[in-house]
């Protein structure tokens, strides 16, 4: 499905991340939460891939598995290093992973809990530099000041503690920390979800600008399609541990090929209040990742479901050029996107 293009920086094949459930008197494994259940995607260099889905669909787990904060249950994660070498990182040890961590970093969601309250801003932003022995002493201070300026914070405040800053400012501190080692790939795990809407815009714009200036590739994880739309080149839609659609932003929003995407897109409020929204209300509940449905995971709630949908799982295939969908009827269905 994915051709060996030279500029793919991250490629994930059949990634699975299952978490055991312990129960019973002796704490035996009684089942698994299939947070990520066999997903395939790739990100090209310098592009932003938005990974969307509702809470609990596994998108945060994807981000953490890629950065080896978990040990993947199955699958392959291929990362292309700055020297062009492709490495498979799903099974390497943490010690081998450490040098790679300079090139792939994460932005965390909660600005209040992702910064150690007992450490100053200088220590927080400078910590990656210290761990990887990049700088120390006054050189460290210089670099921290530079990083603070680049995210819009006054370096004079580097001796302050996180609790003296607002949420948006703390997220900028986290951003400075993420950029400190000049990474190439950033996994942004819902970086603006905890912020006020006006601050969201500022941080998003900052992220865009930094991406251009520093040549970053971003996996942007979010649950809000309107946020993702603004910043992403391509969008991948996740549902209960699987990717159901992946294409360029415009294609996903205007001509979705998967019924779930259609429902998501229909819920985006248009900017014109006179336009009547026709939201698709999905029937039923989101299934538990410990007990996913047979066949297509979306079939119990899908208004277009047929018998085959409950029997066979549809693979994620390229239905149109660069537009992937996991639906048996992707070609036949005429689904509605934004703008009719």
């Amino acid at each position: 499905m994915i051709d060996a293009q030279n500029n793919i920086i991250l490629e994930v094949k059949n990634l699975k991340q299952h978490f055991p459930i312990y129960g019973g008197l002796f704490q035996r494994v009684t089942g698994h939460i299939k947070a990520v259940d066999g997903i395939n995607f790739f990100i090209r260099e310098d592009e932003v891939l938005g990974l969307v889905g509702e809470s609990g669909c596994g998108k945060t787990t994807v981000g953490r598995s890629i950065l080896r904060l978990y040990d993947p249950t199955d699958g392959e994660i291929w990362f292309r290093r700055s020297n062009g070498e492709r490495v498979e990182i799903s099974k390497i040890s943490q010690k081998e992973m450490k040098p790679l961590r300079r090139e792939m970093r994460m932005i965390f969601q909660d600005p209040f809990s992702s910064l150690n309250p007992r450490r100053t801003v200088k220590e927080l932003i400078g910590e990656p530099l210290v761990i990887h022995r990049v700088a120390s002493g006054s050189a460290l201070e210089q670099q921290v000041a530079e990083l603070m300026r680049s995210v819009g914070l006054d370096p004079a405040y580097m001796d302050r503690y996180p609790h003296e800053f607002s949420g948006g400012q703390r997220q900028r501190i986290g951003l400075a920390r993420t950029l400190s080692l000049k990474p190439r790939l950033i996994v942004a795990d819902e970086p603006v979800s905890a912020l006020d809407v006006s601050i969201q815009a500022q941080v998003l714009n900052l992220l865009s600008r930094l991406k251009e200036e520093l040549g970053l590739t971003i996996l942007f994880i979010a649950h809000d399609l309107s946020v993702v739309e603004h910043i992403s080149d391509r969008i991948a839609v996740m549902y209960v541990g699987k990717i159901v659609e992946m294409a360029a932003t415009d294609d996903v929003l205007r001509c979705p090929l998967h019924p779930y995407t259609e429902a998501l897109v229909s819920a985006i409020p248009p900017a014109d209040p006179d336009i009547k929204m026709e939201r698709i209300q999905l029937q039923g509940e989101v299934p538990s990742p410990a007990n996913p449905p047979s066949g297509c995971i979306f079939h119990p709630r899908c208004q277009y479901a047929q018998r085959v949908c409950s029997q066979e799982e549809p693979p994620l295939v390229e239905v149109e050029k660069d537009h992937f969908a996991a639906c048996h009827f992707a070609k036949e269905l005429k689904l509605r996107g934004i703008g009719g």
């Binding site: 965390f108 992702s114 761990i131 300026r149």
Partner: protein, 383 residues
């Protein structure tokens, strides 16, 4: 077909955010601000400070050498401070009378004040020589009376069997009692916090094993264990070695409280995003434990520290009272209590028991201090 019009403010220049220009508060500042709002905590702090001053500068506060034997003046009652003399005249400067023993009508010896000579109490007098901090020779003392040959004395808490000023001795005894409790607490905190953090961070079998070990240690009957361990200390050891050994023995049984508390805190902290962020950037386990987890446990550690000190003071007093551990010529509050063991001694010379007030002030002071610190140590939670 309506166009989606989403307007987002564009920015050419990067906005530099200026914080409200407030006084920058360090963690210590925040803690102090909250601490000083509680009067009882301040009181506790003052009590502790006073005891430390009395102990460290005990020679300055002692009008008589607490170590020198003076058999002829054994068991003298405390000299009373008078402002009104036998003729009813008021003096601003307090004075004392010497004691003399007379036989009353039943041929029993009783103490009566000899009002023929009044000895005014003076401040900053010259007295016996001592070395401040063991280095600087000095003869300055806070208070004293003249007329030694005529019998002028000021034993504020009386004398013991060997004629030594009990007040002076109590101040001196504070050195051992406080130093041992500090040293023992330090060991206890060091051991307890490290084991607690390791237990909480690594979890799994290591955690289970350490917790069972903690329970094992806690189920020991303390006193018999101390007695046994103290009895093992060879009599040939010098004072310093005995001191260290006793401190270690006390620490051995008190580290478990901190281990449990720190483990609990670490279990909670382990799941926070900033610990995840530390792992994400490649921090080693050691770094996460000592650089990130430890400082966040500091409030717990400080509180347990200030509450372990009085525990050890009491334990040491108890053991020394029983004759285990600290021996003469070292003196602690517990050792001084040893003389107050028989009913006759106590009946005739009640002042022998006065070191107990020093212990009382120490324990109360540290408890108030610890309570105040517990409230103040977490300044980030808004109450």
């Amino acid at each position: 077909m309506a166009e989606r019009a989403v307007t987002i403010p564009s920015e050419d220049a990067v906005p530099v955010y200026r914080l409200k220009v407030e006084e920058h508060e360090s963690y210590a500042n925040l803690v102090w601000r909250k601490f000083r709002k509680s009067p009882i905590s301040i009181l506790g702090g003052l009590m502790v400070l006073m005891l430390f001053s009395l102990s460290v500068f005990s020679d300055f506060f002692a009008p008589y050498d607490p170590v020198k034997l003076n058999m002829r003046e054994g068991y003298l009652p405390p000299n009373k401070l008078h402002f009104i003399d036998a003729q009813g005249k008021f003096h601003l400067q307090p004075f004392t009378y010497a004691w003399k023993q007379v036989l009353d009508e039943n041929m029993q010896a009783t103490w009566v004040e000899d009002t023929s000579i009044a000895f005014p109490v003076r401040l900053f007098v010259t007295g016996w020589e001592y070395k401040l901090f063991g280095l600087i020779p000095s003869t300055l003392h806070l208070y004293g009376v003249d007329g030694y040959e005529q019998g002028g004395r000021i034993f504020l808490l009386g004398t013991d069997k060997f004629g030594r000023d009990i007040f002076a001795r109590s101040c001196l005894a504070g050195r051992i009692s406080l130093a041992m409790s500090l040293f023992g607490t330090f060991i206890s905190v060091a051991v307890g916090s490290v084991l607690g953090v390791i237990s909480g961070y690594y979890g799994g079998n290591l955690d289970t094993f350490l917790q069972r070990f903690v329970e094992f240690v806690q189920s020991f009957p303390q006193l018999p264990l101390w007695m046994a361990l103290a009895a093992i200390i060879p009599v040939t050891w010098d004072q310093m070695a005995v001191f260290i050994a006793m401190s270690v023995i006390f620490a051995l049984l008190s580290w478990t409280l901190l281990a449990r508390e720190v483990r609990g805190k670490v279990l909670a902290l382990r799941e926070t995003d900033f610990i995840l962020a530390a792992r994400e950037m490649g921090a080693s386990d050691a770094r996460i434990i000592f650089y990130h987890l430890y400082p966040n446990c500091l409030s717990h550690i400080i509180v347990v520290l200030t509450l372990t000190i009085p525990t050890i003071i009491l334990s040491e007093s108890f053991l020394s009272f029983l004759g285990i551990g600290i021996q003469e010529p070292l003196v602690s509050w517990g050792v001084m209590m040893r003389e107050a063991q028989t009913i006759q001694t106590l009946g005739f010379n009640l002042w022998i028991i006065s070191p107990v007030f020093f212990i009382f002030v120490a324990v109360l002071g540290f408890n108030f201090l610890g309570d105040g610190l517990r409230d103040a140590a977490d300044p980030y939670t808004i109450t």
